[in-house]
């Protein structure tokens, strides 16, 4: 059996490749970076480090090779006789892989299943639509999103060297796919669970786990912490994370019933995963791409809107949205764009264009009010010491740039 994985990054190697190899598939990665292709072909293996508290296990994944994504013919040849195709390129990378994927699928005699391991509610249909621009008849093939339960925080090692790369993640090894969007028989992959109500499962993950993770990251960033496992130890952040997840959970229960929302115990288990210091998960990684994460259906705004629809006041989600609007990290272009947009057009425009929130609505007003409170001190490396009385480490600079930020 053969599988092609487009994107040998944290999820592609740190989860998908391992599950496929464990299921007996030969794995061929398609990578954009020629150094990564050369490394994987030269070394032929990588490690996965699964950590939980003070315990860790390493798994060596062998029997892999790679082709450059830029070599359309090579990628197409691999896809042409693959038993399953997976993508793990992040949402922003999907448009770039649509063409090579289409070229490969065109050469196939048999239908293929394409699993999009992207953190999107509708990753399968989005990828299908992108591929359809190059291959009109995508109906032959199955396209599904794939929801991963594992958090993969980092890649260690140097692709220029000869030592295997190491991907660090936590233990969960299951993933959900949309059984109704795939072609049967389904590929037999360890940990794969096909569900009929994929969208609801995706929303459930997004509005609890992802909302809590983002809340920890954005408040952790404001408070000057470097790691998620540190931020979650701050009593005010922990309360906000649990609060945001609880609001998301209540909204899901009201909208879809308790079956999809999970239980309160599930929320405590999620917080325990954020406590996992073995991941060394930086706040800056979890918080990156705030423009996407502030999307109207995404983890914070989507959950807050659903909560409000259900008559639940999403106080903690509002705080998290406001904190996300303050996120700025020099290595994250999305955060820099966000801050530029806030400076140029003000928070009203960002709420309207990015979050799809009406600024004059109750939710919009609450977000603007919370953001104004946080923005009065944030920026220039200032650190929030206490949320309850908004005590900042440094005095607020009343200069013009600050005024622009709070506009």
């Amino acid at each position: 059996m053969k599988a092609v994985v487009i994107g040998p990054g944290r999820v592609g190697c740190g989860f998908v490749g391992q599950q496929l190899r464990a299921s007996g598939f030969e794995v061929i990665f398609a990578a954009r970076n020629p150094q990564v292709v050369a490394h994987l072909n030269r070394v032929g293996r990588y490690r996965i480090r699964l950590v939980g508290g003070s315990r860790a296990e390493e798994i060596l994944v062998e029997g892999i090779r790679a082709v450059p994504l830029s070599n359309l013919d090579a990628v197409a040849r691999e896809i042409a006789d693959a038993d399953v195709v997976a993508t793990a390129v992040t949402v922003a990378g999907l448009p770039d892989i649509a063409r090579p994927l289409a070229v490969g699928l065109r050469r196939r005699a048999a239908p293929a299943n394409v699993l999009a391991f992207e953190n999107l509610i509708d990753a399968g249909s989005q990828l299908r639509a992108l591929v359809a621009r190059h291959l009109p008849d995508t109906g032959l093939h199955g396209f599904s999103g794939a929801l991963v339960s594992r958090a993969i925080a980092s890649r260690l090692g140097d692709v220029r060297g000869n030592k295997p790369l190491t991907f660090v993640g936590d233990a969960p090894a299951s993933f959900l796919v949309d059984g109704q969007s795939l072609r049967w028989p389904l590929p037999a992959i360890e940990g794969m669970v096909a569900v009929e109500d994929y969208r609801m499962h995706a929303l459930s993950k997004l509005y609890t786990f992802s909302a809590g993770h983002a809340t920890a990251a954005y408040l952790g960033h404001l408070k000057g912490y470097r790691y998620i496992h540190t931020a979650i130890r701050d009593a005010e952040i922990r309360a906000a994370v649990l609060g945001a997840m609880h609001e998301g959970h209540q909204a899901l229960s009201a909208e879809y019933g308790a079956r999809f929302a999970g239980s309160g115990e599930d929320l405590s288990a999620i917080v325990a995963r954020f406590d996992n210091a073995g991941l060394n998960d930086p706040v800056s990684r979890v918080g990156r791409e705030p423009l996407r994460k502030l999307g109207s259906e995404d983890r914070l705004v989507g959950a807050a809107r659903m909560a409000e629809r259900c008559g639940i006041h999403p106080a903690y989600l509002i705080l998290a949205i406001a904190a996300a609007l303050c996120f700025e990290h020099e290595d994250d272009p999305s955060s820099l764009t966000l801050q530029s947009e806030l400076t140029a057009g003000g928070v009203v425009r960002v709420l309207r264009d990015t979050c799809r929130l009406t600024p004059s609505s109750p939710l919009g007003r609450d977000v603007m009010e919370a953001r104004a409170r946080l923005a009065s001190g944030s920026g220039d490396g200032n650190v929030l010491l206490r949320l309850r009385d908004m005590l900042w480490a440094s005095e607020t600079d009343p200069g013009p740039s600050r005024t622009a930020r709070t506009a």
């Binding site: 860790a56 480490a393 607020t396």
Partner: protein, 284 residues
């Protein structure tokens, strides 16, 4: 991951944040030990680095010698040992701060009671031992006849600063570029209504001064004492380890920083000691 804290274990009723920092690091899967030479005898040739990172949390003569010997043996330390050793000497630090353009009170050093008497004639003075970063940073000698009494400070040279009293004292704790301030009022203290330190936002000017102090002395983890006089801040003391009194979530912040500083040197998880034998392998 192993951390060594070069210091004596603090007393149980101590306000030190170090035990809480060590507890957090342990809960995060690391090992955190006190590295101390309490009443011990050690063959110097056996001193070597046994931890991934050492935190120089004490400036006693014993701790400094031990830290210096480990530094010579290749130990990685948080705050470079030479900077910590240098910051032990108030005379040296004061000159470095002056050279960096940082405002400090007029300062002197000398020896003998005659010099002390001359010093007292110039006005109220704060007298401190020269060879320690600890000690009574805010004790003032106001009258000349106190000089003889204060001459018992030690056997080495004395260090003195002109006394500046404008009612406000600030302590700035610096943790890897982040600066946290606490404030104490001198006047309330002298009237016996000491409310202790309280956290306050630090002005941009004081942040700059605190950063310049760290750059001048070569420290990343330190504390700066500042008094204000006539609206002008003066640095009266730089210590190579912050007490972090009244800084909110101080232990968590310090543990976060120490953990991050050690992280780049870590190639393996502490639980993975057996190497390849522990691998589960999916082979083709």
């Amino acid at each position: 991951m192993r951390f060594g804290f070069v210091m004596r274990p603090p007393a149980k009723d101590s306000s030190s944040v170090i035990p809480a920092v060590m507890r957090l690091l342990s809960e995060w899967g690391a090992t955190a030990d006190y590295v101390d030479l309490s009443e011990g005898l050690i063959d110097i040739s056996t001193i070597r680095a046994r931890h991934d990172l050492y935190v120089l949390a004490s400036t006693t003569a014993t701790a400094l010698s031990l830290a210096g010997a480990m530094y010579a043996a290749g130990a990685r330390t948080l705050n470079p040992y030479p900077s910590v050793a240098m910051s032990h000497d108030r005379i040296v630090v004061t000159r470095m701060l002056q050279a960096a353009g940082i405002p400090v009170p007029q300062a002197f050093f000398g020896t003998g009671t005659a010099a002390l008497a001359r010093l007292g004639e110039g006005g109220p003075t704060v007298l401190k031992p020269s060879g320690s970063s600890g000690g009574p940073a805010f004790n003032a000698m106001r009258e000349t006849d106190e000089t003889a009494h204060n001459a018992s400070l030690g056997h080495g040279p004395f260090f003195a600063q002109r006394y500046l009293d404008d009612g406000r004292a600030l302590r700035l704790s610096c943790i890897g570029g982040q600066i946290f301030g606490v404030e104490r009022s001198w006047t309330t203290r002298s009237k016996g209504r000491d409310t202790g330190w309280r956290p306050v936002p630090v002005s941009a000017e004081l942040c700059t001064i605190a950063r310049l102090c760290g750059q001048a002395v070569g420290l990343c983890l330190y504390e700066v004492d500042v008094v204000e006089n006539g609206g002008q801040p003066y640095v009266v003391n730089v210590s190579p380890f912050p007490a972090l009194t009244e800084v909110p979530d101080a232990a968590l912040r310090l543990a976060d920083y120490i953990y991050a500083e050690a992280h780049p040197s870590i190639d393996r998880h502490p639980a993975l000691s057996g190497g390849k034998d522990q691998d589960r392998v999916f082979r083709s």
